[in-house]
């Protein structure tokens, strides 16, 4: 024995650096776009960031807790409908929308989690899908909010001002929220709580044999994830100025999973990059070909087949080869 380490290595995580680069690039997007006269794309990038928030929320439970939620879009819809509901009641403040969405998502997560978290693996996937569909059909049944068609709404107010009318202000609001949530999740996943969550992913029976009752930890992660996804829902309602049941369709839940898997699960940066890339490619490929979903599917297949850890793993391997560091996994 030569060393008594007081802390783990892997400080100065390269992933954090990648994330900071992404955020810095995002921050200069609006002035850059307006410089070249492509202002329209600001709202596209806003949408990319909103999806990144949703993907991050899913990565917390999927990547760190091995809970593959196939109904996560329910929380996206809950956030959006909470904003719509409050807006129609004359409550326009953005922060109140966030609070309302968080409460609604927490309630839905506690009820559905109490049932779904009793199951594991593919059963959890199926039950979460069922709850997602319940939310979807509930929204369709809301004839006061346009039923199938959904309903338009005006943007929320910030500090009593109609600041969000500007696409650029909305862009920076979303960026700030994205950075804060990313930072929060980075800390959370390295905390005691995060460590226990990772432990349940690795081997839940082992965790019980260590002395943990794992359900409360999974529930807490599920609720946190739900609240973050609902926040993304509030943002998407503001960005689109339109709320409809398709926000919580099962295809949307699938899209969230694709984003996380494409980027690489369980490291947050993957979810961030995966979401930005998915929405970006959707926009680009749709322009380039009617059959963009085919091309996108092929790309996804290639990533899963050739780099199972997603893009982050690919980047690590390539950069590891360049710097000559070994691959320890």
């Amino acid at each position: 024995m030569t060393q008594t380490p007081s802390q783990m290595p892997a400080k100065g995580d390269p992933r954090i650096r990648i994330a900071l680069c992404i955020f810095a690039c995002l921050a200069i997007v609006p002035p850059l776009l307006s410089l070249v006269g492509l202002d329209y794309y600001t709202s596209v990038v806003t949408r990319m960031m909103i999806y990144a928030i949703a993907a991050l929320s899913l990565d917390l439970i999927l990547g760190y807790g091995a809970l593959v939620s196939f109904g996560h879009a329910a929380f996206f819809g809950i956030g959006a409908y909470a904003a719509l509901f409050l807006q129609t009641r004359g409550i326009t403040d953005f922060f109140l929308h966030l609070a309302g969405a968080s409460l609604a998502a927490t309630a839905f997560a506690l009820v559905t989690g109490a049932i779904a978290l009793r199951t594991r693996g593919v059963y959890f996937i199926m039950i979460s899908l069922a709850f997602g569909q319940m939310a979807f059909f509930f929204f369709i049944s809301l004839s006061a909010f346009g039923g199938d068609d959904g309903m338009s709404l005006s943007r929320a107010t910030l500090f009593g001002q109609e600041l969000l009318r500007s696409e650029v202000t909305l862009f920076y609001l979303v960026l700030v929220i994205l950075v804060v949530i990313f930072g929060f999740l980075c800390r959370l996943t390295r905390s005691r709580f995060g460590r226990v969550l990772i432990g349940t992913r690795e081997d839940s029976l082992r965790m019980e044999a260590i002395g943990y009752r794992i359900m409360p930890y999974q529930m807490a992660a599920y609720v946190i994830s739900a609240v973050i996804c609902a926040i993304a829902g509030v943002l998407i309602a503001n960005q689109l100025q339109y709320v409809s049941p398709t926000l919580s369709s099962w295809q949307r839940s699938g899209e969230f999973i694709i984003m996380v898997v494409l980027g690489g699960v369980g490291n947050l940066v993957g979810a961030l990059a995966g979401a930005l890339l998915t929405i970006g490619l959707e926009e680009a490929l749709a322009r380039f070909s009617e059959h963009w979903k085919l091309w996108f599917g092929m790309l996804l297949l290639a990533v899963v087949l050739f780099s199972p850890g997603g893009l982050t793993r690919l980047v690590e391997r390539v950069s590891g080869r360049i710097t000559g560091k070994g691959d320890d996994r």
């Binding site: 802390q7 905390s191 005691r192 081997d203 029976l205 260590i210 409360p216 320890d328």
Partner: protein, 252 residues
């Protein structure tokens, strides 16, 4: 004789008509290594699973340190000092060796509902985990990823994890399963070292190891305890020879 640390009374568990634990009663005294032997399918792992709280018995009573724990869950038993290892190695493969143990230290020191402070920087957790690793001889491997350990090292790690829960009684389910002779030697030496601090109950197929380690041996056949005694008693017990050493042809 002193109070037993673990006292099992008339434990029964059936799967349909098959009685896998049939009226088992036994006592484990502090400081002992109590071995359970028996042929394949005798219900040894099922018995350990009921003692550790993974499986509920149909009837009977399990008393630990004077307290009835028959219906306590696994986590509750671990907190009272009753830890187990598994027949098939169960570690947290994606974490470092040190973290595997630190997470067990964390389970009994302070709340794990802490969301902000970085756990890997908690010196108290790491130091105590390191002490457990040193004790089982894995100190130099602390920073490795657990899945990269050899099979024998994983067995050592499992014991380190169990030690980190500060057990008073350790249930070891075939700790030598799948190990080579050199690895087995390391593990046997480790168990002998731990004996002064921790009471152990172990299932093992390796007879020479059992005779070397155990103070008391119970023989389980078809869910029933057919004999109990010291190594010497068991070696010469006719029923044991009949059931375990494959001489049933001569009987009946």
């Amino acid at each position: 004789m002193s109070q037993p640390l673990l006292e099992v009374t008339s434990l029964r568990k059936s799967y349909g008509a098959l009685a896998v634990t049939n009226d088992v009663s036994l006592k484990v005294f502090p400081g002992q290594i109590h071995a359970i032997i028996g042929p394949n399918g005798a219900g040894k792992t099922t018995l350990i699973s009921q003692l550790s709280g993974q499986l509920a018995p149909d009837s009977g009573e399990v008393r630990y340190d004077g307290e009835v724990i028959t219906h306590l869950d696994m986590a509750g038993r671990v907190r009272r000092g009753l830890a187990r290892s598994f027949q098939l190695t169960r570690i947290l493969p994606g974490l470092s060796v040190l973290e595997n143990v630190a997470i067990a230290v964390q389970a009994r020191t302070g709340s794990s509902f802490r969301f902000w402070q970085v756990a890997a920087q908690e010196r108290a957790l790491n130091d105590e985990a390191m002490a457990c690793l040193t004790e089982v001889g894995l100190g130099p491997q602390a920073m490795r990823l657990a899945r990269t350990l050899s099979h024998g090292e994983k067995r050592q790690l499992e014991i380190a994890i169990a030690l980190a829960t500060k057990p008073r009684l350790l249930l070891l389910d075939e700790p030598l399963a799948g190990t080579g002779p050199e690895e087995a030697e390391i593990l046997i030496a480790l168990m002998l070292r731990l004996k002064s601090r921790v009471t152990m109950m172990l299932i093992e197929h390796d007879m020479s190891a059992v005779f070397q380690l155990a103070d008391f041996i119970s023989v389980l056949v078809y869910g029933e305890i057919v004999a109990g005694g010291t190594a010497e008693d068991i070696r010469n017990h006719p029923k044991v020879r009949e059931a375990y050493l494959g001489e049933e042809e001569e009987g009946t």
